[in-house]
Symmetry: C2
Subunit: 209 residues, 2 copies
């Protein structure tokens, strides 16, 4: 379980401002995880997410003192880009990144809650599909939705997925899921805070790809 617990997200401050540096540090541990899912399909998703993180980091390192929180970045870009905003820069990258993060959140939550296809208890398709429907589907046109349905067939078995979460260590299933629940506390709060920020700043778009 090292993988998730070693890289906990930080507890948010009362004003729910997300610290850019800590966020980038925590989130950068997620993409390598796609490597252990064992299909070329996931490398495409990994590079999309990596691209988002790289773009946000590039803005941050330009002026770390100016971009202490994620909201600082969005507000500066709103100022700088006029009508092109929010479909631009780190604002766009984080808009998509948060959807990938929400996908991961719902999928892990669904596993932790014990959602399971009783006819195929060792598959995680129900959990993946639930996450897809809530986090991503509405932003995908019908062709990408079809591609998702095909890609779903590459999802690992539940047992292998839990093992991968535990970095290959032999951990009892209940211990692994307890660790997932622990991980989800600050992680979910962070993702929620980013969604709220997009709503508050009117920075959310719903075009499809």
């Amino acid at each position: 379980m090292a993988l998730l617990l070693d890289n906990q997200f930080q507890e948010l401050p009362p004003d729910k401002a997300v610290d850019t540096k800590l966020f980038l540090e925590a989130v950068s541990h997620l993409p390598p995880f796609f490597d252990c899912l064992g299909s070329t399909v996931f490398s495409v998703i990994k590079s999309d997410i990596n691209g988002n993180i790289t773009k946000i980091r590039a803005v941050y390192v330009e002026d770390p003192a100016k971009y202490i929180t994620l909201q600082d970045i969005l507000e500066a870009e709103r100022q700088a880009h006029g009508a092109a905003w929010p479909k631009v820069g780190a604002t766009l990258a984080l808009m998509w990144l948060k959807r990938g993060l929400r996908f991961i959140q719902i999928m892990l939550q669904s596993l932790a809650d014990g959602d399971r296809d009783m006819n195929n208890p060792n598959l995680i398709r129900v959990n993946v599909t639930k996450a897809y429907e809530q986090a991503l589907k509405k932003y995908h046109g019908w062709i990408v939705q079809k591609i998702f349905n095909a890609a779903l067939l590459a999802a690992p078995y539940r047992s292998n997925f839990l093992k991968a979460l535990s970095k290959g260590e032999e951990v009892k299933e209940e211990d692994c899921l307890a660790n997932v629940r622990q991980f989800l506390v600050n992680y979910t709060a962070t993702v929620d805070a980013i969604y709220e920020m997009y709503t508050n700043l009117n920075a959310e778009l719903d075009y499809t790809v």
Copy 2:
């Protein structure tokens, strides 16, 4: 038609050695073409091909005098990497790149030859499928094959594709196809030469992704 004809591949010398610099120059004009196909699906293919080109160029610029021809690169890497070769470095990148190039070649050839679905004369699915079956399918596992089938639905209409080939200029269909035939002469010879080189050096692999 500017697009293709501006960036002709060079005629090969009698020994069919492919000049690395000229090859990299000519091939780097292909990926931007995927942008005008109008779907996010193609950006994934574009980055895969771009990744291949970047990898080959990175080796070339280390020592241009040493890597005059593509064969110089493969032979140097065979020497340097021992048992890991050919699934390594620019040898691996070119192994995949040539398949993408073959795909494009067969697809354009099929258009030039007039292969057409008489029930759907404005679709290019027959041409795309023919190219896929001959150039890529055997290197893709069943899930990626399914993803291809879904991605095929994003293929542009024939008329739009020909227009894109002509860089958006209004060109008569026959003129456009004549230009394609012209482009294919040196292009096909180059791709053939690369395939032959892989056979001769025993550098070809047939694992699936």
